[in-house]
Every structure is written in structure tokens, then in C-alpha cells.
């Protein structure tokens, strides 16, 4: 590589550059290349507003502006304004946006600063960690469409969130939890100070009135902690009791409640032990674990219904001779809609007019575009690639295929808790046992020595309080998730690490998961001796520049021949154009052969490559082999996972040829091709019913139900946003390497949890008989409990050792896309 990577890549989005220097921008006086007009416009807009420092502070790369600007005018309609915005007095309106492509603080700053100059915008607040923006604007001074278009021009995709939805729910939940945590933390500091004095007093003597005073003060501070901060435990315990399945929260609530009430009783009576410190400390540590778990869950964006993102923001509805832009939820069955190339199909329907190719890869996994002619069905969310078409809407909203996929996902998810709840069921037995034991002890002591009954029962409850048990797992989980986050793996559901540790099968989807999801030129076969490969490529590149087809991207970096005229694109078949005096055709083999009057020979589906043929009037000139290349670290990851004892496999919706090629390159792993979403689901289920623990790695919408059905699911964040929503693990960046780290960490985690549990059990086995026999005072039990908890937490902290891997930038981004 002779140039620094930054000079070989687009200055704005980091994408590969097209044929030399067609778009450049001036940065501090020196020209920098950009890949397309969209990026050029974004950079110019940013620079013209004096916001160029964005490029110094952002975490690269920015999002590629989606091909062409969307038409946002539908959002200025009264109906859309009512749905997405909210009147906030004095004529101004508020709305929330989810912003795709927003991934660092510099992006947030850029949007705030750039939009802040827009006349009519009253207030904007962009939150980088949730990728949300809150806007307040004056609809008389500006329009919503103008603001949305401005955000898009900066290279982000704004997605207005409906006010009917739960835009603010996550924030409210997080704030409430933070307040509880704060109260418990501040309370803990105070109460512990008083407790130390009281313990010191116990050893060396203390004035009785001072002791009483300290107890009252502790009571005063502990009360809000118990009544406010510990409230979730009581609520959850009560709920689990009503469902007749006592969970871990029952003994927690019971211990906190009983210890608090007993301490209050002792304080008022002026005699007996108080446990305010234990109560408060216990509450704080439990809340801390839950808070960490919750913020991780929110960060993975689980709450947002991302399926709706696949629908276009607006579409052209035809009524008579008129066309108007409407939002998808205004469409009804029977409406006629025009869909332009590059737009997504807004609803399920039937094609009336025109023919085109659609990209259904998100729904079916099929990477090759599908031809659609009048009479064919169209599915909501698929991408119209080439032609202008008109369709009649047949199904909208809940009746659509997209909604069905979403329901499939819900159902698959609903099956899962049977396994996930095992820990809770064990806990239920344990809890029931403890409660029965406490009752037995109470009965025994009431008959022998009634005055000591309460203290003894409390000692039993406190000693057996599954502090270590219930703290062992969350503390270790929090440590493990932190370690993984450093390595670029987000854990969306804490429990999943337990399953990952004993997984023995790992299934990969191919397109976009094992591969990068973009075609690359693998080889050229020149069929006409008078031409060189370079000449053929130049012609091909020139023609393919005019194509919207995904395969055309493979030619985008090549130097193109000049002077293409009379370009004609034939949907689903290829493209035709004149260079010099020759009329060329490029595309499917049959399309090219028709151009020179020959009969067709259909291509075999089991070939490893997708072929594109170039021809002129005399016959085919060259054949180009295109393939979707494997991610740089796919091979190494598969090798290391195998070494860790997982059997890898590929489950793909793609054709058998490319799938077999990928399997061979990865070291002859098992592979199944041509699978529909249902087939994949069946495959995962059959593996699971054969006793295997299955990890599924995917990235598309079609994977979502499959992902949910697997024991553990993982998705790559650079893929479709949706997969993140349904996956347990999200791999950030472009690589698969995080998977290995996740498996290793999960095994260490399980080891540590096991040690913690063994400790907790040993401790209980020793302490319970002692407590039940009345030998342990409640204060000793509390010290034992705290010490045991401390030990467990410290053990969990070992997961955070310094050798924890840092996130490694994938090497893929630095290598040139096309070999020299």
C-alpha cells in the first residue's frame, strides 16, 4: 500500500473510492477525496457552517449518505404533524427522532450545531448514547421536512418517533433507577458511619444515650432507603408470590423488611440489635447490579421496534391523476402507490405497472435481486432497485408480511424463558426451603424459649439470605459484561452468557455475517482474444456506473472508459450502452447472448461465483466472476471457536455454490444452503432437541426469529440495525473476533459463578445450623452475610483483570478493497 489508508478512502464515510479523484473536497487547503456526491455535499455543508472540527473528534467512519435524498414532504401534512409531533404551547411543536448513524459525541455536536442555525428551530438536544434527538420548532418559521432533510444532508438518517409510542419510557425507567441507586448509596455512606461507631461502642463501651441517638439517626436515614430505594424488591416479591412462583426477590424483600422492622422495634424499645447498615448496604449492592444490567439492556436499543424502520418514511399515493406524499400508516388496502427506484416498498401489494428488480435480501436472505413484473406480489420493506413501478396495496400494518415476521419473532422469544428461568425455579425451591426452615425454627423456639424466637428466626433469615447467592451472579455478570464491552461486544441480556458457556454448536448466516455483504470482483475470463482484461473491465465499469444493481458496486473502484451513450437498463437482466462505435451489453448471460442473436444456456445455480457477462453484437467478450468476500477475521474466528470446542456450521438462504465456497474457505465446515427463515428455525430447533446448545450468528430480518429461537444469538452491528434488537450479543464494528472473546469470558464467568455458589452453599451449610440452634446473634449473622457478600463481589472482580482484551480495530478497513 503506497498511500496512507485515509488517502485511499472517502474522507467522510471511509468507504472505498471510485475511479480516481472524481469528487474532492478542500480540507485546510489540501484536496481530500470523497466517494460520492452525497459525501461531497455532506462535507461541504459541514465545512460551510464552520463545523469542520467534527472530523478531528469523531470516531470514524461516518455513515454513507443513503443514495439520493429522501422526500420528507409527507411530514409537513397535518396528519403526520399530529402523529409525530406534539403541541407544546405558543404554537411550537416538539418531536423525538431516532438518528441512525449517530455513534459518537462529535456526531451529536455536529447535528446540534448545524441545526441550531436553522431559523425556526427553538431547541435541539441530541443524546449520543441513545442516538435520540429532541427537537422543538416553530412550524410557522420552518417546516419539519426542512429540518429532517438538513439532518439527512449531514449524512445521518432521522427517524421520527411516533408520540403514541414509548419514546420517553426508557429515559423515565433509567432516571427512576438512578434516583433509587443514589438514595441507597448516599444512605449507605451515612448509615455505615453510624454503624462503625455502634460496633466500636459494642467493643469498648458507649454512653447509652449516645447509642440510642445513633440508632435513631440510622433509623431516620435507613427509612427512605427501605421505603423508596428498595421498593422494586417488595413489588417484585409480591408479584412473584401472587404468581405462586417465589423468586429471589422474596427472601430479599423478607430480609430487608424483617431486618428493618426488627431494627425499628429494637430502636423504639431501646434494646436488642439493629441491622440498618446491613439493610442499606444490601439494598445498594443489589440496586447497583440491576442498574448496570438495565443500562446495558437500554444501550442495545431493545425497546425500539426496529421492524418499522424497514418501511419508507413516505410514499407517493396516487389518486386519480394526482400524486401526494403520505406516511406509511396513512395507506389503506386498495390504494395505488408509485414506488421510485431506490425507495422501499411501503406495504404488501401487487405490481400493476412497470417492471423492476427488488432487493429482498432482508426478508429472504437471497442476495441476488428478484425480477418483478405486473401481477407479481411485492412485500413491504423490500427495496425497489431499478424501475418506476405502480402497485396496489393489499395488506397494511398488522396484516403485512413484515408484521408476520415480527409476530414470528415474538413467538420464538416467548418459548425461551423455559430454559432461561431454570435459575429462578431453583431459586424458588431454595426460597421455599428457607421459608419452611424459618417457620420450623420459629415453631421450635416458641415452644422452648419464646423470648428468643424472633431473634433466632431473624438470624436464620439473615444468615441464609441469599446475598451471596443473589449477588454472586449479578456481580459476576456485571464484571463480565464490562469486560466484553471493552472488547467490542455488547451483552443485551445478562443471562445469555450462562448459555454461551456451554454452547457446543455455532451457526453462521453467510451474507453480511461471515461475508462483508458486498460483492467483489474475483476473476475475469476474456472470451475474445483481441481484447485484454483491462479493456473489458474499463467497458464494464463504464456501463455499470449507470446501474443501481448491487452487483454493480463490484466495478465501482475501477477506471472506466469514457463516452458512454444511449444507456438503457433492462430490469433484472442487464444494461446496454454505446461506447465509441460499439453497442455493448453487460448482465446476465442470456441477456448478452440475445443481443447477438444466440440461444441461451441457463447458468447453473451451484457455481461458486455470480457471473456477469459482457458482450457486443458479435457475442460474449468476457465473463466476470463476482463473489462476496469473507470478513478478514472469519477464518481465524472459526478456527479458534473450533479450538474452544464449538462445532461451526453455515445456515444460509443463499444459493449452494457461494455457500459451499465459503464453507471450504473456512476449513470445510458443515454448510446448508437455500434455507428459508422457517427452514433455519427448524434446523435450530432440531439441533436443540438433539441436546445441542446452539449459538446463532446473523444479521438480517429473516434471522430475527431464528436468532430468538437459538440458545444464544449474536449479531454484527454493522449489519442491519434490526438484528441488534433481537440478538443477545451485539458485535460492534466489522469483525467476528468478539465471538471468541465472548465464549472465553462466558466460561470464566461460569467458573467464577460456580465458585461463588459453592462458597455460598458452604457458608449456608455451616451458618444455618448454628443460627437455628440460637448460637448466632443477628448481628453476627449480618457480619457473616456482609463478609460473604464481599468475598463474592471481590471474586467477581477478577473478571476485570488487566489482561482483559481491548477492542481491536478490525484489519479489514485498512486493506484496499481491490487487489492491485
Amino acid at each position: 500500500m503506497d498511500l496512507a489508508p485515509s488517502d485511499r478512502r472517502c474522507f467522510h464515510c471511509g468507504g472505498p473510492l471510485p475511479a480516481a479523484g472524481r469528487f474532492t473536497v478542500q480540507i485546510d487547503g489540501s484536496p481530500r477525496p470523497v466517494c460520492c456526491a452525497g459525501c461531497e455535499a455532506a462535507v461541504k455543508l459541514i465545512l460551510s457552517q464552520g463545523l469542520g472540527r467534527f472530523y478531528e473528534f469523531r470516531e470514524p467512519p461516518s455513515q454513507v449518505p443513503a443514495g439520493g435524498m429522501r422526500n420528507w414532504s409527507a411530514f409537513d401534512r397535518e396528519a403526520a404533524l399530529r402523529r409525530y409531533t406534539h403541541e407544546c404551547g405558543n404554537g411550537e411543536r416538539e418531536l423525538s427522532l431516532q438518528i441512525e448513524g449517530l455513534h459518537c459525541a462529535a456526531c451529536a455536536w455536529l447535528i446540534e450545531s448545524s441545526l441550531g442555525r436553522e431559523a425556526g428551530l427553538r431547541q435541539i438536544q441530541v443524546n449520543a448514547s441513545t442516538a435520540r434527538a429532541e427537537l422543538r420548532f416553530d412550524p410557522h418559521a420552518t417546516t419539519l421536512s426542512r429540518l429532517l432533510a438538513r439532518i439527512e444532508a449531514l449524512g445521518f438518517v432521522p427517524l421520527p418517533l411516533s408520540f403514541v409510542g414509548d419514546a420517553a419510557e426508557g429515559t423515565a425507567e433509567r432516571r427512576a433507577a438512578l434516583k433509587r441507586l443514589g438514595v441507597a448509596g448516599l444512605g449507605m455512606m451515612q448509615v455505615t458511619t453510624f454503624a462503625v461507631s455502634l460496633y466500636a461502642g459494642l467493643l469498648q463501651g458507649i454512653a447509652p444515650d449516645l447509642e440510642q441517638f445513633l440508632r435513631f439517626v440510622s433509623l431516620l436515614v435507613a427509612t427512605p432507603v427501605v421505603l423508596y430505594a428498595a421498593q422494586p424488591f417488595f413489588v417484585s416479591a409480591w408479584r412473584s408470590l401472587r404468581a405462586r412462583r417465589p423468586g429471589m426477590d422474596v427472601p430479599v424483600a423478607l430480609s430487608v423488611g424483617a431486618a428493618y422492622l426488627f431494627s425499628v422495634y429494637s430502636t423504639l424499645r431501646g434494646r436488642g440489635a439493629v441491622y440498618f447498615d446491613s439493610v442499606v448496604m444490601f439494598t445498594f449492592f443489589l440496586l447497583l447490579g440491576r442498574y448496570v444490567e438495565m443500562s446495558l439492556r437500554h444501550r442495545a436499543g431493545l425497546k425500539h421496534d426496529a421492524l418499522s424502520r424497514l418501511l419508507p418514511q413516505s410514499s407517493l399515493r396516487l389518486s386519480g391523476a394526482q400524486a401526494e406524499r403520505v406516511t406509511p400508516d396513512e395507506l389503506r388496502a386498495g390504494d395505488r402507490v408509485r414506488v421510485l427506484p431506490g425507495e422501499r416498498v411501503p406495504a404488501d401489494g401487487r405490481l400493476n405497472l412497470g417492471s423492476t428488480e427488488v432487493d429482498e435480501s432482508l426478508l429472504t436472505g437471497e442476495s441476488a435481486p428478484q425480477v418483478r413484473r405486473p401481477g407479481h406480489a411485492l412485500t413491504a420493506g423490500t427495496l425497489n432497485l431499478t424501475g418506476v413501478i405502480e402497485m396496489t396495496v393489499t395488506h397494511v400494518g398488522q396484516d403485512s408480511t413484515l408484521a408476520a415476521v415480527s409476530r414470528l419473532l415474538e413467538r420464538a422469544r416467548a418459548v425461551r424463558p423455559a430454559v432461561a428461568d431454570l435459575a429462578d425455579r431453583v431459586a424458588a425451591w431454595f426460597v421455599t426451603g428457607v421459608l419452611l426452615l424459618a417457620a420450623a425454627v420459629a415453631l421450635y423456639w416458641l415452644h422452648t424459649d419464646a423470648t428468643r424466637a424472633f431473634a433466632t428466626v431473624l438470624a436464620v433469615l439473615v444468615v441464609t439470605c441469599p446475598c451471596a447467592l443473589s449477588l454472586a451472579t449479578p456481580a459476576a455478570l456485571a464484571a463480565a459484561t464490562t469486560r466484553l464491552a471493552r472488547a467490542g461486544v455488547l451483552v443485551a441480556r445478562g443471562r445469555v452468557l450462562e448459555h454461551l458457556a456451554d454452547a457446543d454448536r455455532i451457526l453462521f448466516d453467510k451474507t453480511g455475517t461471515l461475508t462483508r455483504g458486498e460483492p467483489r470482483l474475483e476473476g475475469v475470463v476474456v472470451l475474445e482474444p483481441r481484447l485484454t482484461a483491462a479493456e473489458c473491465l474499463a467497458v464494464a465499469a463504464a456501463l455499470e456506473e449507470h446501474s443501481e444493481h448491487p452487483l454493480a458496486r463490484a466495478f465501482a473502484h475501477l477506471p472506466a472508459a469514457a463516452g458512454v451513450r444511449e444507456v438503457r437498463s433492462v430490469a433484472g437482466r442487464g444494461i446496454e450502452g454505446v461506447i465509441g462505435e460499439t453497442r455493448y451489453r453487460i448482465g446476465r448471460s442470456e441477456f448478452v447472448r440475445e443481443g447477438c442473436g444466440r440461444t441461451t444456456t441457463p447458468g447453473a445455480s451451484d457455481r461458486e461465483h455470480t457471473s456477469v457477462v459482457l458482450g457486443d453484437g458479435s457475442g460474449p467478450l468476457a465473463e466476470f466472476h463476482l463473489a462476496d468476500v469473507l470478513r478478514a477475521d472469519a477464518r481465524e474466528t472459526v478456527r479458534r471457536l473450533t479450538a474452544l470446542g464449538l462445532t461451526p456450521g453455515i445456515a444460509s438462504g443463499d444459493r449452494s455454490g457461494p455457500v459451499a465456497a465459503a464453507a471450504r474457505q473456512l476449513g470445510h465446515i458443515a454448510a446448508t444452503a437455500n434455507l428459508t427463515a422457517d427452514d433455519k428455525l427448524e434446523l435450530v430447533r432440531s439441533l436443540r432437541s438433539a441436546g445441542h446448545r446452539v449459538v446463532m450468528v446473523g444479521d438480517g430480518v429473516n434471522d430475527a426469529p431464528v436468532l430468538a429461537a437459538a440458545d444464544v444469538s449474536a449479531a454484527i452491528a454493522s449489519g442491519t440495525q434490526l438484528a441488534q434488537v433481537s440478538a443477545d450479543l451485539v458485535l460492534l464494528g466489522e469483525g467476528l473476533a468478539g465471538l471468541t472473546c465472548a465464549v472465553e469470558t462466558s466460561r470464566r464467568l461460569m467458573r467464577i459463578i460456580r465458585q461463588n455458589l459453592i462458597w455460598a452453599v458452604l457458608y449456608n451449610l455451616t451458618a444455618v445450623p448454628l443460627a437455628a440452634s440460637g448460637l448466632v446473634e443477628p448481628w453476627m449473622a449480618a457480619i457473616g452475610m456482609s463478609a460473604s457478600s464481599l468475598l463474592v463481589v471481590l471474586n467477581a472482580m477478577r473478571l476485570l483483570d488487566r489482561t482483559a482484551p481491548r477492542r481491536v480495530e478490525p484489519p479489514a478497513r485498512l486493506t484496499p478493497a481491490i487487489p492491485a
Binding site: S48, Q49, G50, R53, F54, F57, C104, A105, A106, A108, W109, E112, S113, G116, R117, E118, A119, G120, L121, R122, Q123, I124, Q125, V126, N127, A128, S129, T130, T171, R174, R175, L178, K179, G182, V183, L186, G187, Q190, A207, L210, F213, L214, V217, L220, V221
Partner: protein, 59 residues
């Protein structure tokens, strides 16, 4: 030791104040985004703003 009867109530008042301040901070959204503000101080520089149309921003 009698001073403790004064100091502890004072400490409790401080505690109440800190809880109140913490609640206010949480409510006003100061804990919602812990990443951006740290970088924003670097980004909002003193270089003269470009001659762009003046915006009306009350934020």
C-alpha cells in the same frame, strides 16, 4: 462528645441537600448522556463562526 449531637444533624441536613441536588440533576437530564459533554468542550471552539445566516437558538 456533646458536639456530636450538633454535627450529626448537620450531616443529615447535608445529606438531604445532596439527595435533593442529585434528584434535580437526574431530573434535568444530566445523567442521560455521559459521553457527549466531555467532548463538546473541545468542539465548541473560539474560532470565529462563519458568515452563515444567524440562527435563533434559545437552547
Amino acid at each position: 462528645m456533646n458536639v456530636i449531637y450538633l454535627l450529626i444533624p448537620l450531616g443529615l441536613i447535608l445529606l438531604a441537600l445532596s439527595v435533593w441536588a442529585f434528584f434535580w440533576a437526574v431530573r434535568s437530564g444530566q445523567f442521560d448522556d455521559l459521553d457527549s459533554p466531555g467532548v463538546q468542550i473541545l468542539l465548541d471552539d473560539d474560532r470565529a463562526p462563519p458568515p452563515a445566516a444567524p440562527g435563533s437558538r434559545d437552547a
